[in-house]
Symmetry: C2
């Protein structure tokens, strides 16, 4: 057991607490101390420090020496201030005991109210207030709450006692219960406690206090709290404070009440008090939803003076804290008490409006406003959303893989999706998982759902790139594509049935649920312009088509950081020559096939360059393994088996001939597919290795790009092509490929008589490339960190396959976060830093960016800013997120 310094101070009265002691006292304790210091009407109390909680945990759940003595001293002060004594048989002081960590953890920790009641004090309270009903109502609430939270009896057991009693009244409301009934409820509740726990409810108020404090400490480690910390990346060892405060009573008659209010609407951001209150009630009634509260505005009629006082206090609080407040208050017989105030949570839309309006009001400055909006919350603003008011019926839940909401009719194959979409039908593509062969189906679909795969599965990455809503890994879906049906959650959905996909929450809903379109108003544009003024990091977009590029530009992208040229080859007219190229027996046949692809590729580049007129466009040369363009091995094997079967049953010679031909063709294709088959395609013949073996491919792509660039220049379009060579691991690769790129590009420009500046660089996406960045930078004019692949190889972890264990790893804290979503700063991050430093040491003006999924993740953007990268590149829809995150990183704030 660690030794404890008995002289250490574990307890601070609100009026004695040091300023800005959030870490020491927790958010609640520090807030109440600050409110007390500001002269606000706060019931007296004190806070037991977070250090005491940590000491308690470290000591194996024993409170540190000195704690109870200091508590007694502080309690005496509260008694003096309140004019009542704790446990007094005549005029008893009651206490609230609440938890409060440095980081807000709403709902995660537990609270005990009305502590100090027993048969004696309850009777005294009844005498003092002249309101027996109130006293025994408080008593029965306290026994239930204490029994549940401190002694571990299910709340339901106490609720049933109350329900039975209410059933015997006429009105059926809490307020209809008689004093005798309340007393009987207390007695029954105590019996339930004794029966369930084999321990008696403690009548001694000080024993109640000690047990309650220990229960708050214990609750730091309850499952909900641990889970919340895990999800929100809150450390486990910061502990919670315990705030002990004199109770005030909102249930002392119809001039009493309790409520919760925001100084502005947390959903829309509209200025003005927003909230709810209840007359003659305790705060728990509101929180637990036992009684239906009234809108705060109605308080102006019920208690006009108190309302005016509250309004003034709310304004003062917003000014004091410089941000929207979420205030808990109680009115005790006409006297207003503030129980808690904290910075209000708000929707993305509200955050934007509030930040901009507060600048207008002179409350905060523009830089502060930029820091007020969570970049992650911004993303949801850019997509349609399921209407909050709509009634929904859940079909299945998965990962929120690409935000936005859409309604459509289910299709089970990409061919079907494409065909039906061509006829104008909104289609939701539902697949076990997607592969590059599904690209045309995904393009055609209004939303995509997969039963397997994580946040960085093929479906998720492609959908995010296109801004198409996607729910991935909806594992309860049972697909039977052959029969055109799926089952989940007891429902059966047939081919063509309507579903609604909510990509922001990961829900697949039955039928057509109304959605609402995003409104990017003036506030949004104003905030983004402030962010742009602040940030140092450039923001580009990953886009493969002119359409995507235009959208990216609309969202403020300053260039294309990654054009994945392979996506261009999946259309019907392209896949055929692509396959010819792959199946070519020699360089001649390969070149013939490439000649067919050249004009198509040139057209793609032309659209992209025109959309980005005046801005740089980074084009990555062909990257994936070639077999991605061929039919699946299993599918082909199946097809051959089917032909064989059909052959056995064929009745005419013609049919047999046709089937034999078909079989031969399939077998030839199968041989090639087998030849190209790789055990680990991620680590196989791909990236620049293709260009090294088949320089014709590099030449064709570069020719197409520079022919398009020359066309653009002739039309007065500003072009800045940057050719990016993927998957380099050795300097000789970039040397060879860069020389080929320059030779081809210069030849085209000479043919066309066009002068043009361009860059040749590389992706740094393998550990060896980061380590050898110095060698590579001798040739490469820019680096773009491909953090997806770099994460895969640094961890030895395929993002296609990681789903089976990665979530368990994150849940158990083996990894702090999914490294494919938030950059692993300690491992992958070291390679990014080291690669950047070594590259710049060799070439001081090396341009360095990042084009993995992390480019749109706020926490990762903050890291990239810190490392000194020049830009990040992300999906078009995440460009505003990245702009804001980059600005916040410059401001030095936490990016989350």
């Amino acid at each position: 057991m660690p030794t404890v310094d008995t002289d250490r101070r574990w307890v601070y009265a609100f009026e004695d607490a040091p300023a800005d002691a959030r870490a020491l006292l927790g958010g609640k304790g520090a807030g109440l101390a600050a409110m007390t210091a500001a002269g606000l009407p706060v019931p007296p109390g004190f806070t037991i420090t977070t250090e005491a909680c940590v000491a308690y945990q470290d000591a194996g759940h024993h409170v540190p020496d000195g704690l109870w003595d200091q508590t007694e001293t502080a309690l005496a002060e509260v008694e003096a201030a309140a004019g009542r004594r704790f446990g007094d048989a005549d005029d008893p002081l009651l206490l609230s005991v609440r938890s409060g960590a440095a980081v807000s953890m709403p709902g995660m920790m537990d609270t005990v109210l009305n502590l100090g009641l027993n048969d004696g004090t309850a009777a005294a309270l009844a005498r003092q207030t002249g309101d027996e009903r109130f006293a025994y109502d408080a008593y029965r609430r306290f026994v239930a709450m204490f029994g549940e939270i401190v002694m571990g009896v299910e709340a339901d057991r106490f609720e049933r006692i109350v329900q039975r009693a209410k059933g015997q009244t006429e009105g059926g409301q809490d307020t209809d219960l008689s004093v005798d009934q309340l007393k009987e409820i207390v007695a029954q509740s105590k019996r339930v406690i004794a029966g369930q726990t084999r321990q008696h409810f403690p009548d001694d108020p000080r024993e109640q206090l000690r047990q309650a404090v220990a229960a708050v400490f214990d609750s730091w480690d309850n499952d909900r709290a641990v889970h919340y910390r895990r999800v929100h990346n809150i450390p486990d060892d910061i502990g919670t404070g315990v705030t002990v405060q004199a109770m005030v009573f909102g249930n002392k008659g119809w001039d009493s009440g309790t409520g919760v209010a925001f100084t502005r609407d947390p959903s829309t951001g509209a200025k003005g008090l927003y909230g709810e209150y209840l007359l003659n009630a305790q705060g728990e009634d509101v929180v637990a939803g036992i009684r239906t509260p009234k809108p705060i505005a109605e308080m102006a009629g019920d208690l006009p003076e108190t309302f005016d006082q509250f309004q003034a206090l709310a304004d003062q609080l917003e000014q004091t804290y410089g941000d929207v407040q979420d205030i808990e208050f109680t009115i005790e017989q006409g006297t207003l008490w503030l129980l808690q105030t904290r910075t209000a949570k708000r929707s993305g839309a509200a955050a934007v409006r509030i930040a901009v309006e507060m600048v207008g009001e002179g409350v905060i400055d523009e830089r502060t406003a930029v820091g007020r909006v969570d970049p992650a919350a911004l993303e949801a603003l850019l997509h349609p959303a399921v209407n909050d008011d709509a009634e929904v019926e859940l079909l299945a839940e998965g990962l929120p893989a690409s935000p936005g909401a859409a309604q459509g009719r289910v299709a089970f194959t990409s061919d079907d999706a494409e065909a039906r979409a061509a006829e104008g039908e909104p289609v939701v593509l539902v697949r076990q998982q997607t592969s590059p062969e599904d690209f045309h189906g995904m393009v055609a679909a209004v939303a995509v759902v997969t039963a397997e795969g994580g946040m960085t599965s093929h479906a998720a990455v492609v959908a995010r790139g296109m801004g198409t809503p996607c729910v991935a890994g909806a594992s309860s879906l049972r697909l039977d594509a052959a029969q055109g049906r799926l089952e989940a959650g007891g429902h059966t959905v047939l081919d063509g049935d309507w579903v609604t996909v909510d990509g922001a929450t990961g829900r697949v809903l039955l039928g057509r649920v109304p959605t609402k379109d995003p409104e990017l108003g003036d506030d949004f544009r104003t905030l983004m312009s402030w962010a742009d003024d602040v940030r140092r990091l450039g923001v580009r977009a990953n886009a493969d088509t002119g359409e995507d590029a235009a959208k990216a530009r609309e969202f403020g992208a300053e260039g294309i950081g990654l054009c994945r040229t392979e996506h261009m080859f999946f259309g019907d007219e392209r896949l055929q020559p692509m396959r010819e190229m792959i199946l070519a027996e020699d360089a001649g046949a390969r070149e013939a096939a490439l000649r067919k692809l050249l004009p198509l590729q040139r057209r793609d580049f032309d659209a992209l360059l025109r959309a980005m007129d005046g801005l740089p466009v980074t084009v990555r040369l062909l990257d994936p393994p070639l077999h991605e363009f061929l039919p699946d091995l299993l599918e082909l094997t199946g097809r051959i088996a089917e032909t064989k079967l059909a052959l056995k049953q064929a009745t005419t010679l013609e049919e047999m001939d046709r089937l034999l031909d078909e079989s031969a063709a399939s077998r030839a294709l199968l041989r090639q597919v087998e030849k190209l088959h790789e055990e680990n395609p991620m680590l196989g013949l791909r990236g620049c290795r293709l260009g090294m073996l088949y320089p014709e491919i590099t030449q064709m792509q570069v020719r197409a790009l520079f022919e398009a660039a020359a066309d653009c220049v002739e039309d007065g379009i500003g072009v800045q092509p940057e050719v990016m060579i993927p998957l380099v691991s050795a300097a000789a690769e970039i040397e060879t490929q860069a020389a080929l790129v320059r030779e081809t590009a210069d030849a085209v420009l000479a043919e066309r008589g066009v002068a043009l500046d361009y860059l040749v660089g590389t992706m740094i996406e393998l550990p060896r490339a980061a380590l050898r960045a110095g060698d590579i930078a001798r040739t490469a004019e820019f680096f773009s960190f491909g953090t997806n692949d770099l994460t895969q190889t640094t961890f030895g972890l395929s993002r296609d396959d990681a789903g089976r264990f990665l979530s368990a790893y994150v849940e158990r804290g083996v990894l702090p976060a999914d490294p494919f979503q938030t950059l692993d700063v300690e491992g992958v991050g070291e390679l990014v830093r080291l690669g950047t430093d070594r590259g710049r040491a060799e070439r001081p003006d090396l341009k360095v960016g990042v084009c993995g999924e992390h480019g749109g993740d706020p926490a990762s953007v903050a890291f990239f800013h810190g490392v000194g990268l020049d830009y990040v590149s992300c999906s078009p829809f995440r460009v505003p997120v990245a702009r804001l995150a980059a600005a916040r990183a410059t401001l030095g704030g936490d990016a989350s």
Copy 2:
């Protein structure tokens, strides 16, 4: 064009050359200078420096300024020493022009002899020597040689002219040609040159010299030379020297001659002159094999005095150079001239014998002896070899994947191989490629051949581990396993036919070719004991069975560095419970299956620990993805299709029932296989990720190991178990798994009342593990670098798939060597160094080893020595190689 310092010295006379100027003058030039300095009979001459060659290359194939002037000066000195003048019409000096780089490159560069001959000097030579036949024979040789080497005409064209002339003589020998015939040959040769090259043969001797020097420089870049340098890792920018030397003539009658001799037999190492000579001939006759030379011993009868003189000179040379010499000599009318001497190449067996005997003779010391034997050459000594004298017929060639030779009858499936081997038949397993499912077949086979796969394919790695000869990637093999036949090189081999596999050279031979067994004599043991005295690095073996461990120990292994426990699960009795374990629906069913595996695994460990009595044994927990233990997806799909087909044709109800059952079982298995299918299994659910998800597996393995250890301790066996946790990427993984290992191990030891020291450590085989080595070393007591996987992830390169392009990469110099064979020091090596340093910074006594294939590669061993590792671990057969390489690394010598 680079500027050239015209004052620079480009030319050195033999007698003026600086000592030890190998880099400047090339091996040949430095050797001749040294011989001249030692007073040996060397014809006068001079050397043009390697720097001149580099300057020539840098200047775009222009000789540097000053070179010809300096050449003239040196030539004048040679004329003075020889007493003849170059181009003289009366008594002409003739020259040889040879290349010679700093590193020996035999046969790679070109030589011109008899330079200076034209119609005039030939006539003068005839007059001077009184031997017209000799003069015109030299002339016709010179024209042909010059025409070929300097002017680029195929040798064949000149040879045909000579053949035609010889056909007109009676004897048909060179010596039967008449003077007129020789003159006609010269004339015809000149006409061929003019016709082929559109240039005249240069009659001016100085023009001949200039062209010849330039041709030597040019030949530095010919394909053969570039290829040789690539294969032998010789830099491209060191250049060759050109040695110009007065000709002496071995064809001046029967008191003249020429030859090549070794001071000891380069094949056996036996002491005594070994070589060949020819009377009345030029050296080229011997080298080119135009006439069949006589054994050198016969010279004692032909020219007794000269032979004695040569014998004395040979002894002097061996003493001077301290090593066996390879000497070219010429006798001109009774006078012995030495043309060249160099350190002799030798076989592994000879190297060992010579090194040990020279120590005995006091010529060298033991440390020098250790440095004299190439570790790589040693490996071949440890295996049977194809008898050199045997006539062989080649079936196919592939990679020399595992050395040794064996004869056996072809089997096309592992089941077949196993069944036939059980009946005592020697079987050669021939597969397209192998997978873990072939393990039993590989165990049963005397040799393994695959049509696909590289030096580190499954077949290669497993075969090397077992010491079974293997030829991998014999791509000309066309297998038709279903028909039981293969075709290659125009031959058809049927199931059961005899073949001989030569794993040392990568050849597959038809029929039964005689082999000879290795003889590890006293010399070998003596040398290894010297090596052990010298080396600092420990040497362990990778072994999975008691048998392998015993063999490793016999070869001097000081422990087991890697026991791959998964190999233990591929036997018939193990695969079944292993599959039950994998297919288990819950932990209970999984534990039941594991209980069946426990005694089997314990038995394996018991054998291993007993074999290594007193030495440490590192056991790696289960590493591969689980689907490796399940049937192949394609095979299963095929089986289902076949059942379906059979069902259509079934005629009885019983048959249909049986087929339906079969189909259902296959489909159930298929679902599980599909569920476990991974896109990139190398980066999937394997290594410690298995133990994290299924702690029962870790527990079973640890229990089996420690139960076996306890048994051994009770029997007085010394055990030092080291439990190794694979594929760690985050510190939390090793923390969790190490805790589980210790808990389980300590429980077993407590049950058994046995005390035992053991270590828990990890493989460092992912870049992140190397980067986070500090964190990991807080828990891990030892590191073992898994450089195979570390190479895969650092390069993003799967060794299963790399075969398709890696050889092209190495051939083109993109990579200096196959990184799976020789450690990539620049990239992977940095991670090894960094991981070692960070680990030791956290835990100074951290034991660090390596257990990848690189542990048996001499160059890599030298690197590991330099980084300060504690040990390397390799296949049993490579243990002596590693011991020697480790010793050489300590001596600071080049390890290759």
